[in-house]
Amino acid sequence: MRKILAVALLDCRRLGFGLVSFALVAGLIPSLASGLGAPVSVAAMLVGAFAIVGIAAGGSFGNDFGDGRSSFFFARPLSTGALIAGRFAGFLALAAAAFFAFMASYWLSTRGRGVWSPSILTRAHAEALFDSWAISLFFGLAIAARGRASRPAGALRTLVIIPLRLALSLGAFILIFGLFADLVLRAYFGTVTPIRLVVGSWVVASFVASCVAMAAGRTERLRIARFQNRVMIAYFTLVSMVVVATWTYVLHPGSDAIQRVGNPTWGSPDGRFAYVSTTVDRGDSSSFQPIFVLDIASGQARRLNADKYQGPWTSADGSSLVWSEATPFFFRPLWRYLGGATSFRVRTSSGNVEPLPMPKKLPDFFTARDLASFAGAVDQVIPSPDGDVFAILWDRYLTFTSRSRGELSEIDLQPDRRSVRGAVFLSSGDLRAAVASGDSRLEFVDIDPKSGTSKTVASMEVGNLARIQVDKNAARALLTSVTQPGQGASISLVDLSSTGRATRPTILLSGVLFPSAVFLADGRIATTGGGSAGARDKRSLRILSPTGQLVLDLPVGEGTPPRLGSEMFPGVLAVRLSRFDEELSLVDTNTGAIVRRLPGFEAPMTFSFSSPPPPGSPAARLMQSADGKLYELASLTAEPRLLLPLARR
């Protein structure tokens, strides 16, 4: 202990005056900055001051190993452990002195109004101190050991081996960094834990490398450098293995890893599959929600390796599926530069998965902006039923590509401030798109993919448009729009069966709260709403004819507005009669009778321009429970069958 204190005291004598002086000046900065109108946080300033103390003390320690100076300690009866402990103790004493000098200076500069308490210290201060000390010790030692220790290498060695080693090291580093970045941004975007772990382990490894190098090398610089290298190579090897193993494990969960089923979860248009967003037993659940494709009949679920918000998108008949394959995006620019294929994939009706030809100028990787928002470069890809032509909405463009013919045409939506609100391929091969322009104009247009020319089907003035739905053949549309805040909303029906110019929509509901509507399989329309504004307790569930005539008005009593689900069986509609009651009611759309009540369930969501599964098909009979489970209801009288998560053995 006496020797440790002697080393510590020596360090304090060497650095004390300089660091305390520095801390006194640093303590003045917060009040000076405040006086100049640019406030600086005292705690943040102290973090910076501590970092400087750490750098000075650690650097001084490492630098002592340069040019034979380390013999001052090693030629004395002082063990390496006592030397390190003494230097660390000295560093802590210097940090304490700097802290008191800083706070005293701050307190005096604020004429006693500043906070003068050790409680200002947080974990950030401890990290700043130790990290800066350990890292500057490592680099100070490395510089001292390598200063003049390395001898000139031979020409062959210089020309071949060193660049080769550098290239391999750089390549390995980029590979591991890329996988780590991929892991963090996909599975741990909402937490800093992995970054903190890696940085923390690097600091600890650097410290361990310094200690090992000092103990093994003492005054021999070549040996110090060699042992520093060995420890760091061992560390990087270990980290690489951990990163690769974690990347593989976390980002590639099997169906047995599913813990909860979340949203969006929806059924395929052909009624066979469910696309299920899940929470799994790994990664950060707020940022990592892998999608599984569930074959409902067999109960087999397979993960679709898709980028978040980049699919899957299905054709209207469900035969084609498009998504962006979640390859490590850090390498995508390089991959594309090397002539690699796009990350977008299409699964055709034959089951083959092939790269999807994308617009040539589309950046096939996340930009920095995309990384921040986690939205991709592509807004949507709409496959044609034959799986050959694709409409790609991205940035300001609508581009058509063909697997057999390449890029077909491109429409720039920017000039008229147009935006495509939804689109679906017709059986004719044209794309029927709802295009909004200006503040209130909506047009339905049919676009020829080959030429990019379009003809107007219907155009109208609408209010604040919230939702557009089309029926199975895109021959009718339901528009949900908000008129005035507090005045409720309206739902109108638009006939798209004939080419028209100015169109007047048929108003089905107006001035109601939380209205919703769906097309039923037989062409009828179901609507709900919370009653007119000012009469919130009056609710309705109505069945209308295909042209919007009232067929059935079902009183559902008082309460919050109902919410429509899907048509689970032919003529049987799933409805949540109260938004806050966790109960799904199955309503006979011909009689208005509630044929079954299912407490604790809700129906999966439907999409505006996506065909719902046929009533009675497995995908139409899906239900989600409030506790995150996915069920299938085989018949009106059957017990719900659990599909996901898989039962634990």
Partner: protein, 243 residues
């Protein structure tokens, strides 16, 4: 180890990358004797000295002091050993008294009074910063520190470097002779062959990484009929290896 040998170097080699600077050197230093290790610049003297003090691990071979392996037991053995490096290794911004205080904590046998009197004798002010001392003062300051622990073994790596002629003569005649008389074992490297001729009991000459000569000085002079300088010149005339 031969009876009475304080230091035994057993087939020690030192290699820096591809460069072999000490090649299987073996030697012994008897208790109370003065051993002069000679060699041209880069002959490997300093590397061997560092191995001898446990500052550096030999590439192969072992060094023993007081019967114990030096690399493994360095800290303990150094309580009985003092070292005077070629250049002063104390941090320059510290004062002389700071370094003396530090040494006092390191050595149980530290004699503060003797150290102070040597500082006074050498004209070294205790309040002076190390960096403010002249080259000669730094050498004497280092020597005073080394003697302060009353070592049984004193290792000096070219200690007269930077001293003027008078100080150099004093150094050899007074200090080394006095130490030897007190039974202190001394190992030193130097280029001052005339200085060591009168005080060294045994001499070793490193040439081409090997120990080309290891003999008693008196016996050597009788056998060869030459001065130490002439013998050294004859042996080291060939090109030495660079360390």
């Amino acid at each position: 180890m031969t009876n009475g040998a304080v230091v035994r170097v057993d087939s020690v080699s030192v290699r820096y990358n591809e460069n072999l600077v000490v090649d299987r050197v073996s030697l012994e230093v008897a208790r109370g004797s003065v051993y002069a290790l000679l060699g041209r610049n880069g002959a490997g003297k300093s590397s061997l000295i560092r191995c001898l003090l446990g500052l550096q691990k030999p590439t192969s071979g072992q060094v023993f002091a007081f019967g114990e392996e030096v690399w493994k037991h360095r800290a303990r053995l150094l309580t009985r050993t003092a070292y005077v490096p070629e250049t002063c290794d104390a941090p320059g911004q510290l004062r002389v008294s700071d370094i003396a205080d530090f040494h006092q904590s390191m050595y149980p046998t530290w004699d503060s009074g003797a150290v102070r009197s040597r500082f006074a004798r050498f004209g070294v002010s205790e309040s002076a910063a190390i960096s403010a001392l002249s080259k000669g003062q730094r050498a004497l300051f280092t020597l005073a520190l080394a003697l302060g622990s009353k070592p049984e073994l004193l290792v000096l790596d070219d200690p007269t470097l930077g001293l003027d002629v008078v100080a150099r003569n004093d150094f050899f005649s007074d200090f080394i002779g006095e130490l030897a008389d007190r039974g202190t074992t001394v190992i030193l490297t130097t280029h001052d062959l005339a200085g060591v001729e009168g005080i060294a009991d045994r001499v070793g000459i490193l040439q081409g990484a090997r120990l080309a000569l290891d003999e008693d000085v008196e016996q050597l002079k009788v056998e060869r009929g030459q001065s130490l300088e002439q013998i050294f010149t004859d042996i080291t005339r060939g090109p030495g290896r660079q360390s």
